[in-house]
Symmetry: C2
């Protein structure tokens, strides 16, 4: 069965983009004025500004502010359509993407294909950790975590057992990358400032935040100096930082940490946040299975220097699902590789040779607390307030849409200058989660 | 078992307030400096600005903006505690409230009690309508409806069946009070402006909005002139207004409307919004059963002129659960009666006689579209732009908390002056709902 659009009279070169994250969205944008037609497929109806997920989880931003509807962002692209569908497999020989659109199967033929499927959480062989921890990949993850965080304080206030209160007010963050660091910092901010005077039985300042990182330094790719600065700032805030430590066991009640010297430690904690491993989305292994595509050890597809799939010059893999030069899974890499793939398609159309992709490191940033961040921009490495101002400018610039920029700025004013968190309402999903885990209730 | 607070050394007069809506919250506020201690019990963790629920359902405001945490709003009340618990029954003889706090039973003794339990949807004997329609009472209702509204357009865009697309793009709003009128107007705004150019297969301007009202005029209590004005404005926008019409049947596919002349009409509509009947919360009938309290025909508790329960001068019923002088279920009535109950408790403490409650009608308002509203303030009746400015001023003033006021103003600028809706992300609950109703998927 063929989709209606492939039967349309529009005989332009058809580019199919899988994924509406940074890679897919910026590829689509780069094709706005190109003589092609575009179909963008995603299982969600929104683009997701993933670096700010932790702000949704801690109640600063609302979900809509970091997740504008993809259709709306791309509404002025006349030759583009957005499909809300789940890609099941890709036939590289017949050049057809097989997807499921609300239970109906959809076959979408393509001339060029950009695969921007992103990454998923990886549990280093401990898939059972998924059941006891919150991931930080999707909007639903962040909303579930938001319920768990604010719900834990409610349960602690209600509990008549001091040990249980302590367990409920302990948060273990696994993974010392930017997400883990920002999350740990925010949890401390929350407990020290935002929840002040809210409770009668508990004191939110007693909240314990434990950050566990497998390597011997935080925010790895930022270099030793900023890594040390981050560790010092977090420790000063009261975050317990464990380096060269692994979470080797997890259950509903807490985690077991194994240190470098093989000693183990059990930490009782109701909320566990998984910000450690990522691996390429399952679409990668589907392609490896069906078409013999090469995967690296974290499930990313190995590509040619121009981001195309070996043997398939019309197929590109970009962003977190792409294995090239060991580039890290950063928004900026996804954006640049997505744009590169789009430009390569246009160059081919024009009969030009493809160019190799060269990532231009525009810098990386991570906030630690209000008014403190670390930033590495080329040779410049700054921390503290200057780093924070940089963080603010960059995030405001890159947030999608003028109104989201303005809105986020307003919220940040409220939460950084004031002490407020807008989004603390406990809604249905939290209640449902609590019912699924009887003991936590 | 007794709660820890009743065993506390604090021997102040203990006021228990049930409900954190307008009645309960304003009663608590009025007791801030009174020589009493206060326990406020609610099953949610937030106060709810119910008149703006329709704005959450249509993606203008985020849930947090109309639902600030009750604890945070009242954090400066030193002698007040908030319990997140569900009241199960009240023993008027022993003066104890029995509640369930996360599965543990809690017995809370009181010296004075203010029952502000609110109202729930009433289906006029057709309880099965609940399964096929969205209510507009709680935050969860609004979030579920938000998913249904934006999800319907997604399903319509995906559908290859013209009839099904029409059904998905038809919205039936039952009830022509302020909630129904505002919802119908917003749905039209949404389809005409906010979703423009978002879709390729459907044109959101084809959206059909049907408003069904049982009496012969809309916004009843506003008088004939404003009622006519509302009807005219809505009709001009393209809302199909059916007066003197009842929904007499409902299923997944649509509704049956019975007109005054007994003719019936079937309307196929995926989304049905129930903004028609309300009745007193179930706590009212529990009290009628257990203590023989008098209920009126819509389940509200009959009270003395000072809002106290007959035979129990220490127990007050306020807001939507109170039957007095046939006062309507408006936020303003709840606020004033809540404050009155609080003041009466203080007067009694001071050995003074209670006064009767007299509702001061400060006016009523309803928006129809951006820049158009109807307002009745004393003898003044205005519509159009002047009414809208009044609506804006009043709602900004009454929103709880400075930051929510500022935030709402920013969102309204975005949605009224611009065309944007922030909150359109389809999240887990929508997917879950869709799976529960296989046919709609």
């Amino acid at each position: 069965m063929s989709t209606s659009a492939s039967a349309s009279p529009d005989e332009r070169h058809h580019v199919v983009i899988i994924g509406s994250g940074f890679g897919g969205l910026f590829a689509a944008r780069a094709l706005k004025r190109a003589p092609v037609r575009v179909t963008l497929i995603d299982r969600t109806n929104h683009h997701l500004f993933q670096p700010l997920l932790y702000q949704v989880a801690t109640g600063i931003l609302s979900e809509g502010q970091i997740a504008p509807p993809t259709r709306d962002v791309l509404r002025k692209h006349r030759h583009l359509r957005v499909l809300l569908a789940e890609v099941e497999r890709i036939d590289l020989q017949t050049k057809v993407v097989h997807a499921d659109e609300f239970g109906e199967s959809l076959d979408i033929g393509y001339d060029s294909l950009i695969i921007a499927g992103g990454a998923t959480s990886s549990y280093f062989g401990h898939d059972e950790f998924r059941d006891w921890s919150c991931a930080m990949k999707s909007l639903d993850d962040a909303l579930a975590l938001r319920g768990d965080i604010f719900g834990s304080f409610e349960l602690a206030e209600a509990s008549r057992d001091a040990d249980e209160r302590e367990r409920l007010m302990t948060f273990v963050v696994v993974g010392g990358g930017p997400t883990g660091v920002e999350m740990a910092g925010q949890l401390k901010e929350l407990s020290r400032r935002a929840l002040r005077n809210n409770y009668r039985r508990i004191d939110p300042r007693d909240t314990r935040v434990v950050l566990v990182e497998g390597t011997d330094h935080l925010v790895n790719f930022m270099g030793r100096r900023l890594s040390k600065m981050t560790e010092r700032d977090l420790t000063r805030m009261g975050v317990e930082v464990h380096l060269s430590a692994m979470v080797t066991d997890m259950d509903e009640d807490g985690v077991q940490i194994t240190h470098a010297d093989d000693s183990t430690e059990r930490i009782l904690a109701a909320t566990k946040i998984w910000a450690a491993g990522t691996r390429g989305a399952s679409l990668g292994s589907t392609l490896a299975r069906d078409a013999g595509a090469d995967m690296d050890k974290v499930g990313r597809l190995v590509v040619n220097p121009d981001c195309s799939l070996p043997g398939h010059p019309e197929v590109f893999v970009v962003g977190d699902l792409m294995a090239l030069d060991d580039l890290p899974g950063l928004a900026e890499v996804a954006i640049q590789s997505g744009v590169h793939a789009a430009h390569t398609i246009v160059r081919r159309q024009e009969g030009k040779q493809p160019k190799d992709f060269h990532y231009r490191d525009l810098g990386t940033l991570a906030t630690i607390s209000r008014f403190r961040a670390v930033a590495k921009i080329g040779p410049i490495q700054v921390g503290g307030f200057v780093g924070w101002v940089l963080w603010l400018v960059v995030h405001i610039t890159f947030l999608t849409g003028f109104k989201n920029r303005l809105g986020a700025l307003a919220r940040w004013t409220v939460s950084f200058v004031g002490r407020g968190r807008y989004e603390r309402a406990l809604t249905g999903p939290w209640v449902a989660r609590r019912q699924r885990r009887p003991k936590a209730a």
